[in-house]
Subunit: 296 residues, 4 copies
């Protein structure tokens, strides 16, 4: 197909934007392809969609998109980091993240008890409310034995709109294989809790196993990507796959590995549709999400 | 300012998109800041805007944006690579670039006489028409002594719409310090031509020197960035600066160097407004360009 | 200090190499600084050293270095991924990883039942022996309730030299917060096991809490980095810190975050010595390790 | 070939280091391959070796390595940036670069008239001596008509050891297609000079054309890489190729493009030996250079 130069005169909406990107080269083309493949998996009624979400996506302002994806029944399984869920819960308790500068003096921020995440800040005092919340609900939470059940209850208990609450309402399972590696995890220091991360393993593998078709979206790699990928290995792999990351393949890590590599492992079907997009997710995800919504 | 989560319900246009990005963190925020600073330099009537354009931007589909910027009087000086101008002229001669795959078999492409630029292809036969063009106009072109005059004449001679022709029509100077390092350069193998790259040096330094205020936009680094930066050093530096690159600062090269470094060199004013955006230009440039247009 | 140009005439050993790097700029200087800071933490008798090891370091050939670090009492705590431990155990069961090509046809590899990790291959049949091993030892392993105890027993049971066995022999705790996200984890599909990842949380926090001084080495980010960092937050942070990663800070993820950011969170002391090294660990780690050994 | 884990006990010299790297995966393997291919081109008596050198390699401390390569007759053609030659000449005039910090306050450095290049500093006053040098030699230099002749004379005139002087002594041509984009270029502001960059084009193309075999080493991409590549296109391409860069292929620029892409363009032979190494050159180049020397 010929390259057609981006023509701003033909662009009004975000949908127009990705339509034009589809005529270009380099990563603009990849962004259009990612939009198209995600749209296709959303429209495939027999496709179970797994979203792997790593990186500090809640602090950066991606929360509502994830809530939308859940409420629209566009995703069926969420695998994410304890950090994202901690920040989600902190906001559900009434706190905010604020814009800051990556060039700030971190010693000064420390004095002011402000925690920095690149160009986003969070006050350290939020942990106080988090502790109160967990103290209040400790008894209920401590009886659960799998992380996905635990996160489901957390969604029920969350006082405000949040990824956790949306997933609870829509009965979407959230997996978080390293929950103890997070602010939520730290709430159970010196306390007895019964979580057994292996209890979730059968659950996600069964979802994968029993799905007619499977679509995977990997934001940022990490444990979420790897955990979804290993659930695919018992099948012939995903039918649709989109990866959005800035990590590089050359160093051999799972996060930056090209999706194509997954074909050798049965993580991706030999005939699967896939695209690797090299872009910060805070730019790519809003564009893809809005473009798909504007199509509908 | 509080992070406000991206809310697709409030987004119809690309302007809405960047307005929402302004509420986020990480590179989405940087993209909004880049849009705002570029808009500000375009609106500042006393500001001379220098665009440094590296990377294969014409093959990827960015040509019309550059033409728009010239026709809208949004940029006053263009510094680019010989490669971009060669691809621009090739298209002005009636050829097209086409979409391809970065996973292609390059040996097979070679047999088919197709040249690959990541996921963009160009047929090798285009050089034949390029040769004919230069043979036809050799006499005129060989009399010029500065690259900017040469490129100006090329714009006059170009048979179709192109960056070269737009710049000619609008009387915008194009600088290309390494023109011999390009397909256009190769047209003068074994021929006598009188270009002296030093003749342009005074010209760009004088533009910089006599500008009340200066705005710089660096796409992709390389010689274009460095050449604009050195023209700034005779002043107190640029007043506005935006850099869009995927290159990294940690290896010490000019392309990936943070704009802030330029303060030490008088390339950027101590009080200058600036932002470094880490994103492929084929995604960022169309968004910024369209957002600014939609504001107007 | 003046830059002294690298002088190969003065270089015989790897120690000479890093000594010369100390006179240079860019990442060579960072590599020398990393060597010096790691050496300093190793020599500080009151310093507890935490190694966070992410990325496919065992497949790439870094296993013996980690074993050496353990046997030399240079590290006191290892936090790593389930993948590294799975590959370690697979080799302890007699299998090998082999060199391959990142340009291979993954469909063909799939047919040959070869799994690819960038330019390293592993035969898929290794999982058979892994299953046999776990079936044989299931009863013992299934009684344990914390991942670190489980990994300790695995080290005892491992038939050959391995990271697991070295850690067992030297009584070095291994933490692996997302063990279920790995080949080892998959061995317990459809089986009852009692691991509770929260049981390890107190353990690592206590080690951090009771250490007079703390040194941290982060290879590749991921959960290992984040898990060590959160154990630091209850103190004033690490006294020495070295990070070796190719991930970028601009996207706000923990893996690429500059160590400096940790000061705001009490993950790094305000007066801590630290360096961020941007280099593939398969190059940097052998150099640092050998240079320190040659000094002794 | 099996991965053999890096074994520091077997490593004394830098040669041992790269020998061990040859047994590993990821970028360590690539570094070993780069060493082997460069060694092979150096040993091939019928091979003309082209070195493309971009990035601030002289400020970072790579000068002596380049001088060695020239004096050892290991390279036959050098293509570099005006910046590297400017810094080389500045040092030949008796000045030094010094180590600094990338976290420095650039406004403060500006006040102190110190120019920053990531973690390397240079005093701004060096330009005074540069001006005196060019004023003194203006007459001779202004009579030359090609950049390579100009740089040859500069090597003759340089008061001290330098890349320029070594190239002059060994009669190695230096090409610099964008010399006006540099501190040396700025010395001719408001002066009449006769350089015509096209005069060098025939020269490098003829070297390429008449070479029995060709080896290319690209450090950091930029104009030097592109200029060498275009000289290859008139042949069947390079027989040996090594690229050392941190730039990425995904954005379609020449600097980060994989060498394999060059096959489609006749820049690299279909049967050529090549490797892309992803590493900062300040680490890789000293290792490769020393390893090759220690073999001899």
């Amino acid at each position: 197909m010929e390259i057609k130069h981006f023509n701003t005169k033909e662009v009004k909406t975000v949908r127009d934007l990705t339509n034009q990107f589809n005529n270009l080269g380099f990563q603009a083309k990849k962004l259009a392809q990612a939009t198209n493949i995600i749209e296709e998996m959303f429209n495939d009624k027999d496709c179970t969609v797994f979203l792997g979400l790593a990186g500090a996506m809640v602090p950066a302002g991606m929360k509502q998109i994830i809530i939308d994806l859940i409420n629209n029944n566009q995703i069926d399984v969420l695998v994410t980091t304890g950090a994202n869920l901690t920040h989600d819960l902190i906001e559900a308790l009434g706190h905010k993240h604020v814009q800051g500068s990556e060039k700030a003096d971190d010693k000064e921020l420390n004095k002011q008890e402000i925690n920095r995440i690149y160009n986003v800040y969070m006050e350290n005092k939020v942990y106080k409310d988090l502790e109160d919340f967990f103290n209040k609900h400790f008894k209920e939470l401590s009886q659960l034995t799998s992380t996905s059940e635990f996160l489901n209850l957390l969604g029920k208990l969350a006082p405000k709109d949040s990824i956790l609450k949306a997933a609870y309402n829509q009965n979407i399972p959230i997996f978080c294989p390293a929950l103890s590696d997070s602010g939520i995890g730290l709430m159970f220091l010196d306390k007895k809790i019964n979580l057994n991360e292996f209890n979730d393993l059968n659950k996600i593998v069964n979802i994968s196993w029993t799905s007619k078709r499977k679509g995977v979206i990997y934001i940022g790699g990490g444990v979420p990507k790897n955990y979804i990928q290993q659930s695919m290995q018992f099948t012939k792999g995903a039918d649709y796959a989109v990866q959005i990351t800035m990590d590089r393949p050359e160093i051999g890590g799972s996060s930056g590995a090209e999706l194509k590599e997954g074909i050798s492992w049965n993580k991706l079907q030999k005939t699967g549709k896939y695209v690797n997009l090299t872009c910060d997710a805070t730019i790519a995800l809003p564009i893809i999400h809005t473009s798909i919504k504007q199509k509908l």
